[in-house]
Point group: C2
Chain length 137, copies 2
């Protein structure tokens, strides 16, 4: 049996975050001590590691809840789980593509200023005038 602090140290997840996951229904309400403090079993530690790993990969609380629900039915087809992973991959690729466009524009904006004063600063001029940009964002 782990206290919330033990669990926190073992997983690197802060105690308020663990309580938050419980509130969001990702962790089941654990047993309590006589004085009402949380006492976690090993299964909860493993589930928390699962949650943390999924969060580190950018999955939302909602997706993680779905995956946890699925993982309780070992005999069902895994198409839903695969779909969630593929959607997350697509979303990450989408964000990368958008950020790369920004990077391109920002590189120009941030490195082309040869001015000395605000009056002729390329940063300010470029922000005032989108037509200096190479594409939409």
């Amino acid at each position: 049996m782990y206290s919330i602090g033990d669990l926190s140290r073992r997983t690197g997840v802060k105690a308020p975050t663990i309580r938050y996951y419980e509130q969001m229904g990702l962790l089941e309400a654990p047993q309590r001590s006589e004085g009402n403090q949380r006492r976690f079993a090993k299964a909860e530690l493993e589930r928390l590691a699962f949650i943390r790993h999924a969060r580190d990969l950018g999955l939302t609380i909602n997706s993680i809840r779905q995956l946890i629900d699925l993982s309780g039915h070992a005999d069902r087809p895994c198409a839903d789980a695969d779909r969630i992973a593929k959607e997350q991959l697509a979303s990450v690729r989408d964000r990368i593509a958008k950020l790369q466009k920004l990077e391109e524009e920002l590189e120009r904006i941030a490195t082309c200023c040869t001015g000395e004063t605000i009056g002729d600063c390329y940063v300010i001029r470029a922000l005032s005038n989108h037509s200096l940009c190479g594409h939409e964002h």
Copy 2:
């Protein structure tokens, strides 16, 4: 003189967002009609375009406020403006690098499942076990 709806149509920024920018101090409080409705001058239209462009490039409200403050002093050195742009570029690059790591892991996780059921789904196994990952995230 533009109403908030005129301004919205001309810039593509929704009316509540325009009010929000005013509240955040990015737009100065505009003149009002007799009936207390906002009436914007051309200068505000240009400033709103500036704000919108900066937002599209990912700058925060705070950075934009600083840039607006700077742009009122044409004779001052532009080092601060240049620094804000460079910091934003660095932040975008940082986010791209992190997302690319995620992309790599997610690609493996999302495409390697040859299982049929949750019980042997690679997605679930990979999320349960970070040691299957190629690197940290």
